[in-house]
Amino acid sequence: MSEAGTQIGVARARAGAVAPPAQRSARVDEAAIRAALADVPDPELPMLSVVDLGIVHRVEITSTDGAIRVEILPTFVGCPALEMIKASIVTRLAAFGRPVTVVATFEVPWTSDRISTAGHAALLAAGIAPPGASGDGHPGADLIALGPPVPCPHCGSRRTVLENAFGPTQCRTIRYCADCRQPFEAIKQV
């Protein structure tokens, strides 16, 4: 599962590396930068770009020197991939030929609701269950284990149970499907 994900990520990264030279210095606006960021994979979930993951917050171009500033929202406060993500963004945006700064902010909390529809599909294809709604504002939000069932990414069954609220990375839990009898990973609802 993770191997397939890595291959997708590598394919995406390669696609990014061969971006058309026309993009190099011609038109630089927020949309062009965001389009370029769609080539940058998340290191731990490489089937998702940083855009699909929903961590790209503000994108600004300084009016004085044209420098690019990107604000990102860490998925988890202690995410060890953060420095790698920053470096990947700087590398990708170097094609625009301007100074690039990437900073992390908690001004808006990243929540699992920020993963795009395309991101949900990419996770499913890689055998990882996408997150259900984070349950923000619900009084029972603390009772994660009693939340709505997470469908199995392999067979679609809703007869799945939480095996471990903690998984191989900070953003994943481990579940088990009672129908196809497969363990699977699911994105934590935060």
Partner: protein
């Protein structure tokens, strides 16, 4: 980064240091289970919890370093044991599994109340971070709560051990709420939206239904409330020697 108009840097620094040290010390304590937890799933869980807590500590030390113009790693690793300001609840050594669960339950529930009091605070860097931390800590509370329930309802050795652990922790259980020296300034500036006394009241109200349902004795008031973040004993000296070992082996090394 600047302090708020009315909260002096020293008051903010004292708050950040206490909260960061709490997260740092419990994170390292959790990591002691990596490889030896009673179940494989718990090995994963405790390692992930440790990673969360050390990440939280790094973010808080980072705010403190920016505020005071110092280095986050130096704050985390270059102090003598007596200069740490974590609460004494975290000073009882790793202990057995029941001790780990009892400590985590008491700490996680208290930390949740404290985060709530910071989320609406007037100093945006801390209020924003606290909002994010609160989302992650829900998982920690669920984990500790599920295990406390399981051990306490076991009726046999599990219950005996959890009762023994709660008895040992009892005098220090409420030390998360040790008033900080500059608490009045933090309250006046709105950095904290509740006093330590009010937070402790909310914490007790929050955990008492669980303690009642499980037939466990509620923690008494802290034995020595004025010194709840001081006088760290032998167990912490040992942990400190472990987590500073690499750093001390080659001071100033770059990685």
């Amino acid at each position: 980064m600047t302090a708020t108009a009315s909260a002096p840097t020293t008051a903010l620094a004292g708050l950040l240091l206490a909260v960061a040290d709490d997260e740092f010390v419990i994170g390292f304590s959790d990591s002691e289970w990596t490889g030896i937890a009673p179940l494989l799933e718990e090995d994963v869980a405790m390692s992930s919890l440790a990673q969360d807590e050390l990440g939280h500590a790094a973010a808080l030390y980072g705010l403190l370093a920016e505020l005071t113009g110092t280095d986050a790693d130096a704050i985390a690793y270059d102090r003598e044991p007596g200069a740490y300001r974590h609460c004494r609840l975290l000073d009882h050594g790793r202990g057995d599994w029941a001790m780990t669960i009892a400590r985590r339950y008491l700490y996680d529930t208290a930390d949740g109340v404290r985060l709530e009091a910071m989320v609406g605070g007037s100093w945006a860097p801390l209020a924003d971070l606290a909002g994010k931390l609160a989302r992650e800590e829900r998982y920690h509370r669920m984990h500790a709560g599920a295990w406390l329930d399981r051990l306490a309802r076991d009726g046999g050795e599990g219950r005996e051990r959890v009762l023994a652990a709660l008895a040992e922790l009892a005098p220090d259980a409420a030390t998360v709420f040790t008033p900080l020296p500059d608490e009045p300034a933090l309250l006046e500036a709105g950095v904290l939206t509740a006093s330590s006394a009010e937070m402790e009241r909310r914490w007790r109200a929050g955990i008492s239904p669980t303690f009642e349902r499980l037939g466990l004795p509620m923690p008494p008031p802290a034995r020595d409330p004025g010194r709840g973040r001081l006088d760290h004993g032998e167990a912490f000296r040992w942990l400190w020697s472990e987590f500073t070992m690499v750093r001390r082996s080659d001071p100033g090394a770059t990685w």
